[in-house]
């Protein structure tokens, strides 16, 4: 384990002692079962005589289903059910357009669910789906995001409840009077999360009891959220819906909320009571139905005085949403507090198009927003003749520019300094000055940030089982984040036990309520609930409890959190090599230094940071969902054509963090680590590409054709 940097002076509160487990790089407790493939993901749960569901998806981008002929499919041996809007059970709540499945003949985007075939085997279900004939009344559609779309509108708020616009100070005047002004447009493309495990469910509707119940094995970042949504949409009592999700093959936001397929599989199960219905989206279907990152069109204007101090900053974003449900990505929120500025304005405008429903994708808002802002900062450094590290240091605000609150722990400058040292930043040459054979070599830098989030509402239960063993229950999720291990570490220390005396259970709505494993908030939210439940257990039952002794608790109130602006920071340094003839970009070296509060498990944390940086590299060079606007679908809707990094694309990623505990946000001293690694990374790559070639690529991804001159 590598801890670097001088421990900064943070906080004054005295937190719980770091015990023998927290802070230790414990091996992943679920590692053994996962390396053998014995961890059962949703689709692999045992089910007696399951039926298999295959989707029917619209082949037009806007219109109405005018005719359904299911006769041939229904005649196929093994087909149990063809479900369309003509014979679907009615939903109890249709307030959310994404979840309003098969309730009308309307089609709002290409690939929308218009039906399904359920059969005794996956082969027959798929065959049956091919036999269903659906005709449409096709209406003109629009899937193209344009800055000059006359129908752009301002949403009431943007994701995570941020205000849509901010306007502080006379920014136009500040820009006019600035010695240096950067005014550029940047764009990020539509991207798809693509966790390795497709979205999968096994749903069983049981009518053998007094009230119907629904049990769903699901691949989700939040079992309780899926259960409450399904209960509401289907008109069931929440306690009659059980969602079980012990292992999740990646989510990256796309499993943070239920999607239309969850409702569809429940409708099918309801039509075939007693029979488990299995549904796994195909990789292709995931490009229509599992959320995605909206494309963004950004304009960034930064004015500075001659020594690089920012006078005015304007960050505007245009994004898309669907016609059936609004999702407004918070792209420019990062510009509200990243740097000091005397005046600033930020805004978001949306176009509602005939497109699938956008949603969360790792660091929604921060990932595309930090690309625009940080790329503009790189251009500002160039315009001011300043080192881009120095420019950022000069504009480090002493307090939160947005609220005036003190920082709970802002250590961007330390991250930049430590990173520059580890990377060898001083060896950076002038633009276009380094060549190694056919390769143009460049260095780049950018800042990272992510807010410290705690979500209220999680509850943990501690129960003594006897013979020294304790059960700790919370309906949290481990989506690869290491929760199985890190939450156990927290509980072991809080109870004063060895880790093997703690038996953690997560991923089930039969366990106490937990908030979604998203927004990098899992440890802060679920860990804090466990900490408090353990503390209260000892208070109530002492060191020698009776077997069966149980305590349930939410996290302790932490009013201090409101008094601080709580954000994590990081610095990313990248070396690129650009083939002078072909424009191929290779990234031999990346260095990331982060300040995220206490690190509970260095071994799994390092993987999270590295994974985030790989995502940033991917955003910079590869990811791009290409829409055929004639038909309204993503053309490269598989893993051969939608590029994500392979092993050969990732070489050396050096990760370290400041040794820090931030007790202002929560008693664990953590700020979350899952998303910060992707933020700023793409700007660092773009900065390095410019340093190597002198070419500014402002529209991601940076593909070879953008660099061949």
């Amino acid at each position: 384990m590598t801890l670097t940097g001088t421990p900064p002076a943070v906080g004054t509160a005295v937190g719980p002692a770091v015990g023998p487990a927290v802070g230790r790089g414990v091996r992943r407790l679920d590692g053994r079962v996962k390396v053998r493939g014995m961890a059962r993901y949703a689709f692999e749960q045992l089910a007696e005589s399951p039926a298999y569901l295959h989707l029917l998806q619209s082949t037009v981008a806007r219109g109405r289903v005018s005719d359904v002929d299911a006769s041939e499919a229904e005649a196929l041996e093994g087909v149990l059910l063809v479900l369309t809007h003509l014979n679907s059970p009615k939903l109890a709540d249709t307030s959310d357009g994404e979840y309003t499945v098969l309730q009308s003949p309307g089609v709002a985007f290409r690939g929308q669910i218009v039906g399904c075939v359920v059969a005794t085997s996956p082969e027959v279900a798929r065959h049956g789906a091919e036999l269903v004939r659906i005709r449409y009344d096709e209406h003109p559609h629009d899937t193209r995001l344009r800055e000059d779309d006359p129908d752009l509108y301002a949403p009431d708020e943007v994701n995570a409840s941020f205000p849509t616009d901010t306007d502080e100070g006379p920014v136009e005047e500040a820009l006019r009077s600035s010695a240096v002004v950067v005014d550029q447009r940047y764009s990020t493309p539509m991207e798809h999360n693509n966790p390795m495990e497709p979205h999968s469910c096994i749903a069983t509707w049981d009518e053998s009891q007094e009230r119907p119940t629904l049990t769903v094995y699901d691949s989700t970042q939040g079992a309780h959220g899926v259960a409450s949504t399904l209960a509401k949409v289907l008109g069931l009592a929440q306690q009659d819906v059980r969602v079980i999700s012990p292992y999740v093959g990646g989510g990256f936001g796309s499993k943070g909320l239920p999607h239309a397929h969850n409702v569809l599989v429940a409708l099918a199960a309801r039509t075939l009571p007693g029979r488990p219905v299995k549904l796994a989206l195909t990789r292709q279907q995931m490009f229509f139905l599992a959320g995605y990152r909206t494309p963004t069109l950004q304009r960034v204007r930064i004015g500075a005085d001659a020594d690089g101090r920012i006078t005015g900053l304007v960050h505007e974003a245009v994004e898309q949403t669907s016609r059936i449900k609004e999702f407004a990505e918070q792209t420019t929120v990062v510009s509200r507090n990243m740097y000091a500025a005397r005046a600033r304005r930020t805004s978001h405008r949306l176009a509602a198009l005939d497109v699938p429903v956008p949603s969360w994708m790792r660091a929604p808002g921060e990932a595309p927003g930090m690309y625009g802002l940080e790329h503009a900062m790189d251009e500002l450094a160039e315009a001011c003749g300043l080192d881009p590290v120095e420019l950022r240091i000069r504009n480090d605000p002493p307090a939160d520019p947005e609220t005036g609150k003190p920082w709970s722990g802002r250590h961007l400058v330390e991250c930049l300094r430590v990173g520059a040292e580890r990377f060898g930043w001083s060896r950076r040459g002038p633009t276009g000055s380094r060549r190694d054979g056919d390769w143009l070599v460049g260095f780049g830098v950018a800042s990272s940030t992510y807010p410290g989030n705690v979500m209220p509402g999680s509850v943990a239960r501690v129960r003594y089982g006897g013979r020294g063993h304790y059960a700790v229950h919370i309906g949290a999720a481990d989506i690869g984040t290491g929760s199985w291990t890190a939450l156990n570490q927290v509980a072991a220390d809080a109870l004063g036990l060895a880790m093997n005396r703690v038996h953690l259970e997560i991923g089930d709505t039969a366990l106490p309520m937990a908030t979604v494993e998203g927004g990098s908030s899992g440890m802060a939210s679920h860990g804090s609930a466990i900490l408090e439940a353990c503390r209260r257990f000892r208070e109530e039952h002492g060191e020698s409890p009776e077997p069966g002794a149980t305590t349930e608790s939410a996290a302790a109130e932490h009013p201090e959190a409101k008094e601080y602006a709580t954000h994590s920071y990081g610095a990313q340094f990248v070396e690129v090599r650009v083939d002078a003839d072909t424009g191929e970009v290779r990234v031999p070296r990346m260095v990331g230094v982060f300040s995220c509060g206490r690190i509970v498990n260095p071994r799994t944390a390092r993987s999270q940071f590295r994974g985030g940086m790989v995502w940033g590299l991917s955003m910079a060079l590869f990811e791009h969902s290409i829409v055929d606007h004639r038909f309204g679908h993503v053309m490269n809707h598989d893993l051969a054509d939608y590029h994500v990094p392979t092993n050969a694309d990732v070489v050396d990623i050096d990760v370290s963090w400041l040794d820090e505990t931030d007790l202002h946000l929560n008693p664990l001293g953590v700020r979350g680590i899952g998303e910060i690694g992707i933020t700023g990374t793409a700007a660092a790559v773009a900065s390095a590409v410019h340093n190597a070639t002198g070419i500014r690529v402002r529209d991601l991804p940076i593909t070879p054709d953008t660099l061949v001159r």
Partner: protein, 234 residues
């Protein structure tokens, strides 16, 4: 770990430790998952589709899976991956794309790494399939699995069984002298190829990991390769 998991629905996946808490015995939930017999699952717990499907498109075959002879009747359209997962209850190989683009379904077929989603089950009569759950028949971890855990070369774990089968295949291929795109042309044909980091990255690039654990995957394979230096095959 004793075979503690009952076959009632509440015991599958989670609920084990909670259910057993009262009598003072709380098995580790992950170990409990591991003790479940996949074969038992295959015979009793998974699709009966084979008997309900069209007879004209059925075929019966026998193959060896993780050391055991298994006989199964499949729809002739069934991939080896679906036969393993949906008919035989062997869920160690994963389905990530079903098009041979991600590598999550990689198994060792007669000792060579193979994409089971691109292999029709009916073509595998008499062949030997080894999945990540059968790499070590003593029930222990294979050294490659041990190295993956040690280096934290996994996060969500979904690509991991395929990565591990692929990595085991890479060791054998390099030892047998199979060249890759990055192999030094001066290495004589048929002699063992040294597994440099570049070789590992190139040879493992058919296995996607969306969590981005590549640096640690390379480290794990490097470790195992160093413990077992490649032996020239001739």
């Amino acid at each position: 770990m004793p075979g503690s998991a009952g076959r009632d629905a509440s015991a599958y996946g989670v609920g084990v430790a909670f259910a057993r808490c009262d009598d003072g015995y709380t098995p580790d939930v992950h170990e409990a998952a591991e003790t479940r017999e996949t074969r038992e699952a295959g015979e009793a717990g998974v699709a009966s589709g084979a008997t309900e499907a069209m007879e004209a498109t059925e075929a019966k075959l026998t193959l060896t899976v993780d050391g055991s002879a298994r006989t199964v009747t499949v729809d002739t359209r069934t991939s080896l991956l679906d036969a393993l997962r949906e008919r035989l209850g062997v869920t160690s190989p994963k389905k990530g794309c079903d098009h041979g683009q991600c590598g999550a379904c990689t198994v060792l077929l007669d000792g060579r790494r193979t994409l089971s989603c691109l292999s029709l089950a009916v073509a595998q009569q008499g062949r030997d399939v080894v999945t990540a759950s059968g790499l070590d028949d003593s029930g222990d971890l294979h050294p490659m699995q041990e190295a993956f855990v040690e280096h934290d070369a996994l996060q969500c774990g979904y690509c991991t069984p395929g990565q591990i089968c692929s990595a085991v295949g890479v060791l054998e291929e390099a030892a047998a002298g199979h060249p890759s795109l990055v192999t030094d042309p001066d290495v004589p044909a048929g002699s063992a190829v040294p597994l440099t980091d570049d070789e590992i990255r190139e040879r493992m690039s058919g296995n996607l990991c969306r969590c981005g654990a590549y640096v640690d995957i390379v480290a794990a394979i490097r470790d195992v390769a160093a413990q077992r230096p490649p032996v020239p095959s001739r």
